[in-house]
């Protein structure tokens, strides 16, 4: 147990070691560790941010898809409605047109029939007159024959 100059020398060695550690050992280690800690923290924050962004995006896409589906079904319904409307319209138009054409045709036919009847009437009377002239040349009984003829004409 003898205190001597070794004490001073050891204290100097201690001071040198502390200086060395303070200057050269501690700062690079601290820097490396703190940089890594920050990187890890940043990475974790980014990951959780990404996760929440993904959730938001998923929700948004679901909403969009639902909207699109709704819109599509609306459009389909409208189209179906419009199509049946068009068909109904077309049917109605066709019926009206058909009726009109039919009515026109009927009127024309009636007119033709009447015209033919008039023509026939005119021709029948002239034919009858011509026949009568021929008969009269042989046997004239104008009274009886014209009665007969007018009866015939009335039958037409």
């Amino acid at each position: 147990m003898n205190i001597n100059f070794t004490l001073v020398a050891q204290a100097l060695a201690f001071a040198t070691l502390i200086w060395f550690t303070v200057k050269f050992v501690w700062p690079p280690l601290l820097n490396a560790i703190e940089t890594r800690q920050k990187e890890i923290a940043d990475g974790l924050a980014a990951a959780s941010e990404g996760r929440s962004a993904l959730e938001v995006a998923a929700k948004k896409s679901e909403v969009t898809i639902n909207e699109a589906k709704q819109k599509a079904s609306e459009i389909i319904g409208q189209a179906e409605k419009r199509a049946s409307q068009i068909v109904e319209e077309a049917k109605g138009n066709a019926k009206v047109e058909g009726d009109r054409i039919l009515a026109g045709a009927k009127a024309e036919i009636d007119q033709e029939v009447n015209r033919a009847k008039e023509g026939l009437r005119a021709q029948v009377s002239s034919l009858a007159i011509a026949g009568a002239e021929k008969i009269l040349r042989k046997e004239i009984d104008a009274k009886a024959h014209s009665e007969m003829l007018s009866k015939l004409a009335a039958e037409l």
Binding site: M1, N2, I3, N4, F5, T6, L7, V8, A9, Q10, A11, A13, F14, A15, L17, I18, F20, T21, V22, F24, V25, W26, P27, P28, L29, L30, N31, A32, I33, T35, R36, E39
Partner: protein, 283 residues
Amino acid sequence: MATEHADNAQHAEQALTPSGYIEHHLSFNAHGVNGNVTDQGFWVLHYDTLIMSVALGFLVMGLVWLVARKASAGVPTKAQAFVELVFGFIDDQVKNIFHGNRHSFIAPTALTVFLWVFAMNSMDFLPVDWVAGIVSFFGGAHAKWRAVPTSDINTTFALALAVWFLMIYFSIKVKGLGGWLHELFCSPFGTKIWVWPANFLFNLIEYVSKPLSHSLRLFGNMYAGEVIFLLLGLWAATGVSGTIFGAILGAGWSIFHILIVALQAFIFMMLTVVYLAMAHESH
């Protein structure tokens, strides 16, 4: 442990007595600063203590520096992971005790103290007679060599005194010279003038007891450990059964000593941090 046979044989040649064996192992490789070996005054250097401690200090801190120099913030190498483990352990301890800017001085100092004292304590694991054998091979049969620098009171006292001066330096730096003197006389009992002597006496005792307990705790543990190894070495020289029991108990004491070596280094580091942290606080 088997080497003790050889060593004992060597000692037997010199007809060494047990007290001579112990005295040989507990003597320093002392040299007077002026070259006078027999000088036992203050101007003496223990070459063994100095060479071992300086070599170990620069070996340990150099190894850490080699890793720290290339420390990357990315994926650490295995060596860097180990150094960071120690770094984190020390940093956590300091963080719990000291609440200022620990990175500028106190935490690196704690790292230095822990690693250096741990390395110096670890020299206790070297079989005492191996060291003596190697040294006597190079320096002659009477060359002395104490391998454990922390079992030299000069080393532990040097460290404790350095911490003591740092304590006073930080006290004055943080509180100012007036604040420090005020604290010397006005705490812990109060500012009334009639308690000044009691306060001063109290603080004086505290300032004396801190470095003494700090240094003597480490010195006592390491010195006692060394002496027990020496006693076991003596026992091993008494015959076959002595060798067997000496070997078994020596192994047991070595294993137990792993705990003491680490624990004493940790305690020394913690006290250093506590004293320096206390110096920063106002009472």
